[in-house]
């Protein structure tokens, strides 16, 4: 393996001693303990670990879908650990692009409308939205399927649309949660290639995966086990 130093960009994410505890029937479950994490702009980070290690919980906290029980979280220099629900929505909409394992496209909306959806929450003009949607779909090679519904697309195509939806808002970071989990190997490779391309073009990506083959696509891999960071490896190309 060839070692390449992680991108020397500006700090985008900083987490300090993040803990996450779930309480169920008086049982405390420590999902995350003392997480220290830093992601720089333009970096491609993978979060790896076995099932139940806390990867998805960490990604949810990074994506402001969940809040930590303790600890501090700065995104783009702002403290975001304890924002109210509307502020979190606003930051998610502007700074974060999600790519889910099960695509999470909305069945009643066309490809175009799915990609446009986050932009509508931003109050963007129709002309600007159209420009961005077409650009994003062009970038993932799905501009010929604008009027299709998700059910009319293959899994690989749906995930491309999901990537376009994440891209369309020009987020500071794209969070991918097992993006290949529901795809066959060929489509999985294609999606990973797409993410790599996007990274090469300057996107910051944070991806959760349990598959070491895909983790290798990232520059840096954070290994979680029982809610703790147990190892951090740097991919050498």
């Amino acid at each position: 393996m060839n070692a390449t130093a992680p991108s020397p960009g500006q700090q985008l994410i900083r987490m300090d001693t993040i803990n996450k505890v779930f309480y169920t029937d008086e049982v405390e479950t420590h999902a995350l303990s003392g997480i220290q994490l830093e992601v720089r702009k333009g970096e491609y980070v993978a979060i790896a670990g076995p099932s139940g290690s806390g990867k998805s919980t960490l990604l949810s906290i990074i994506g402001l879908l969940d809040s930590p029980s303790e600890g501090e979280y700065w995104l783009n220099g702002s403290q975001v650990a304890n924002l109210n629900i509307n502020e979190r929505s606003r930051i998610r909409n502007r700074e974060i692009g999600f790519i889910f394992q099960n695509f999470n496209l909305i069945g009643d909306l066309t490809v175009y409308e799915n990609v446009e959806l986050p932009l509508t929450y931003r109050g963007m003009s129709g002309v600007e939205r159209k420009k961005r949607v077409l650009e994003a779909l062009e970038r993932v090679g799905m501009s010929h399927r604008l009027k299709h519904y998700p059910s009319q697309l293959s899994g690989g195509q749906q995930q491309r649309v999901a990537v376009a939806r994440a891209l369309g808002g020009s987020p500071s970071i794209m969070l991918a949660d097992e993006p290949t989990g529901n795809l066959d190997s060929r489509n999985a490779e294609n999606i990973m290639e797409l993410l790599r391309e996007l990274h090469r073009e300057g996107s910051t990506i944070c991806m959760v995966t349990h598959d070491p083959r895909f983790a290798r696509h990232a520059e840096r891999t954070i290994h979680l086990f029982d809610g703790r960071v147990v190892e951090e490896t740097v991919e050498v190309n």
Partner: protein
């Protein structure tokens, strides 16, 4: 059969497993079915079986007509009835009745009896025997027989103690002894309200008279003869009479229609409207339950897929789901019957006793075997209606998808909820039609109650007195009695004024007479120039506050010896003296050419006699003192509660004649209100249906929205992950409810408009187009739908995106 029992057993288990769903569905269906059972029971009592006569469909009502004067229902003249009886080949029997109200003495307190004099074949025609003794027969019409009377069961039971030994004894009616020959069956009440029947004895001249139209004629058709054929037969006889007696009969015709149809005129329209509304309520209930079933069926897709995978055919699956649906409907029908058994007596309690006595079939309204059959059929239809769509939808599962642990995240085929949305749209459309219908009925009813009827009905006590001719044989005695009575009544504390009149507004009977106007030419052959003839005391106009338009009112100077005078109503003045003053002109009342010419001395405002009358009836008022008669009504204007002077008024009557009964004591307000009770009951029922409709529509919107929130929880999570705020989610969900409501209203409003047109023609004079009702109902329904949609939407906006994203 075995599989059916298996399905029913499984269905019962499934219904027990979801008690909440079962309870809501059963209550919803029970409301819809109960509304229909109540309405059907009313129709059954009033339109299908109002009388107990055998072969009721062959019993006809027969009216004379004068088409040129647009008279469609004139009572028959005795001479014409004689022609029909002698010449008609269509009827097995023809008979007639005539009002005979008499004072009964000889059995304790004097009683006013609502009686009818009937011709020989009256009871034979109706085919109903007496319960005790016998009915009136041909033998009672021979001159040698003693006068007889037959009593109604309720009168005999309630007023005479129900003593069987009364048959054969004698009672005095208007001073004449009559032998009680029979007591009729309990349910026999024809004409409605009748308490006694006596033979109608006519002299030779009276039997041949063709000028006085006072007989209500009925006929029993011969087997195989249609009403139309009978009408043709009698019409030919009338045409011959027209040629033979042109002065009285030229241009007259005959109308034959079924007795039920004739008697139900007025109530039939209201009942039809109510049945339509009840059907709407049931459709709404069905749409709601179908919606619930659809939601439940979606949840059972996996179970159905498994059954299909194990070899169940589609038909078998549909049968099983329909069995559940029919079980649910059967429970709903049972609960609907329970609701009806409570609702019906409650409804009947709102109908005034006078109306129950006098409107055909009202007293027969009950939950009988026909209502039970109707409810069962309705339950079966409701079961099919609510179960078919869900059964068809869920019985065609995508086995591959359904049997997987979960469906692929976020993918929902477009139009997945289309059927449910369609049902909600239908509910909104049905609800607006129902609400507008109810609103129009209620506002129409209010408008009638509040409209100016030309007199002031507040604070007036009324009652009737009929002085027997045997005791008050001279006009002087009659005049003197009423003069003294009004003086005594006016002297009572709390009485402002008192007046006599032969009929009062809101009375059911009044006298119509031929009018001859001096200088306006003789009557054309067959022409009926009629006006209502009112004999009134000098204080009549002041007591009823009927305004004077021209001339003067009657005074005590308009006595027996004074020049004959008359006051005419505005409409009569306009009709005969358009653009001229009628004051000083002369007219004659009645057929007697020797009757005096009366000089018109005043013109009074028009009055509306029956609340639903659109046009006032032309009326001629004559001073009572100039033409006294024994049967009169008394009106007393009081300063306080009119009923408070009732006892004192009765004491004054008895002080003048202790054997003289008074009857029908009610306030004028009560009389008007009683006359409106049919419309009021209909309006009340429609309001009830409207409220049920509103609640069901709201429940429908709520259920669909709540279901959508559950179905779209994952989607909501995705949206929130993409940056949607709670506000965005709230708007998204509310928008859905609003769209459904708006589409429903857009479909329903034109239908409501069409319904309003139908209502205003069917219930002419009650319902009219009212923009405020349309606007108000639309606003209320939209508001209710908005709130029903908002509540689940608010819950959706509070969804935790993490939880939602995990939700499948």
């Amino acid at each position: 059969m075995e599989t059916l029992i298996q399905d029913i057993r499984y269905g019962l288990r499934m219904l027990r497993k979801s008690p909440g769903f079962t309870a809501v569905a059963v209550i919803t269906l029970a409301l819809g079915i109960g509304a229909n059972t109540v309405t059907f029971s009313s129709i059954n009592g009033m339109l299908l079986r109002p009388f107990i006569f055998p072969q009721l469909n062959r019993v006809m009502a027969i009216w004379e007509t004068a088409p040129k004067q647009n008279i469609k229902r004139a009572s028959a003249a005795a001479g014409n009835l004689q022609d029909w009886q002698q010449q008609s080949r269509s009827f097995q029997y023809l008979a007639a009745s005539h009002t005979w109200n008499a004072n009964m003495t000889g059995a304790g307190t004097p009683e006013r009896v609502e009686g009818y004099q009937v011709t020989a074949d009256f009871f034979r025609l109706l085919g109903v025997p007496a319960e005790y003794g016998r009915a009136i027969t041909t033998d009672d019409f021979t001159s040698s027989r003693v006068p007889v009377v037959v009593l109604s069961h309720s009168f005999w039971e309630q007023r005479l103690g129900g003593d069987r030994a009364l048959v054969g004894k004698t009672l005095e009616f208007d001073g004449q002894a009559r032998t009680v020959v029979g007591i009729m069956l309990r349910d026999f009440d024809f004409p409605p309200g009748a308490q006694a029947w006596a033979p109608l004895l006519l002299s030779g001249a009276e039997a041949a008279d063709r000028d006085n139209h006072y007989l209500k004629v009925i006929g029993r058709l011969k087997a195989g003869v249609s009403p139309r054929q009978a009408e043709g037969d009698l019409g030919a006889i009338a045409a011959r009479a027209g040629l033979e007696f042109p002065q009285s009969n030229a241009g007259h015709g005959v109308r034959v229609l079924s007795l039920v149809e004739d008697m139900a005129e007025g109530s039939r329209q209201f009942l039809s409207v109510l049945l339509g509304a009840a059907i709407f309520v049931l459709l709404l209930a069905c749409a709601n339950v179908a919606n619930l079933q659809l939601a439940r069926a979606t949840g059972r897709a996996k179970e159905v897929a498994l059954r299909t995978a194990l070899g169940a055919s589609r038909g078998r699956i549909i049968q099983q789901l329909l069995a559940e649906s029919l079980l649910l409907a059967a429970l709903g029908a049972g609960a609907g019957l329970l609701i009806s058994s409570w609702w019906l007596p409650l409804l009947m309690r709102t109908v005034p006793p006078f109306i129950i006595e006098h409107v055909p079939g009202l007293k027969h309204i009950q939950l009988d075997y026909r209502a039970l059959e109707f409810t069962l059929v309705l339950g079966g239809l409701a079961g099919l209606l609510t179960g078919l769509a869900p059964a068809l939808q869920v019985s065609r599962p995508d086995l591959n998808e359904a049997l997987k642990e979960g469906v692929r995240g976020g993918i929902a085929a477009p139009g997945r909820h289309r059927l449910r949305s369609l049902l909600v749209i239908s509910e909104m459309a049905l609800a607006i039609v129902l609400l507008v219908g109810a609103g129009l009925m209620v506002t129409g009813f209010r408008a009638i109650m509040e409209r100016d009827q030309g007199f002031d009905r507040d604070a007036i006590l009324t009652f009737h007195i009929a002085l027997p001719a045997a005791k008050y044989g001279t006009t002087a005695r009659v005049r003197d009695f009423y003069r003294q009575l009004t003086e005594r009544l006016q002297g009572l504390p709390g009485v402002k004024s008192a007046a006599v009149a032969n009929s009062l507004p809101a009375d059911w009977y009044w006298d119509s007479m031929r009018v001859t106007i001096e200088g306006q030419g003789p009557l054309l052959p067959g022409e009926m120039r009629l006006a209502i003839s009112e004999l009134v005391g000098p204080d009549f106009f002041r007591t009823l506050r009927i305004p004077l338009r021209q001339g003067r009112l009657f005074t005590s100077g308009d006595g027996a010896e004074a020049a004959p005078v008359a006051i005419i109503s505005d409409s009569l003045a306009r009709h005969y003296w358009p653009a001229k003053s009628p004051i000083g002109k002369r007219m004659r009342l009645g057929d007697d050419t020797k009757a005096p010419w009366r000089t018109v001395v005043g013109v009074a405002g028009d009055i509306v006699r029956a609340p639903l009358d659109l046009q006032p009836d032309p009326t001629v008022y004559v001073p009572f003192a100039q033409q006294p008669q024994g049967a009169m009504a008394i009106a007393i204007r009081t300063s306080g509660d009119p009923m408070a002077v009732g006892a004192a008024a009765q004491t004054q009557v008895q002080a003048l004649d202790r054997n003289q009964p008074i009857y029908d004591m009610r306030t004028l307000e009560q009389k008007v209100s009683d006359n409106m009770s049919g419309v009021e009951s209909s309006a009340r029922l429609m309001t009830m249906f409207g409220i049920i409709g509103l609640v069901l529509a709201a429940a429908g919107v709520y259920a669909v929205m709540a279901y959508l929130v559950v179905q779209r929880t994952h989607e909501i999570g995705v949206r929130m992950a993409l940056g949607a705020t709670p506000g965005h989610v709230l708007r998204l969900m509310v928008r859905r409810a609003v769209v459904l409501a708006v589409v429903g209203l857009a479909i329903g409003l034109p239908a409501a408009l069409a319904l309003a047109r139908v209502l205003s023609s069917v219930l002419f004079g009650v319902v009219s187009m009212d923009l405020a009702v349309f606007t108000g109902c639309t606003f209320v329904l939209a508001l209710v739908a908005g709130v029903a949609g908002y509540l689940p939407a608010r819950r959706a906006s509070k969804v935790d995106p993490i939880v939602a994203l995990r939700y499948e």
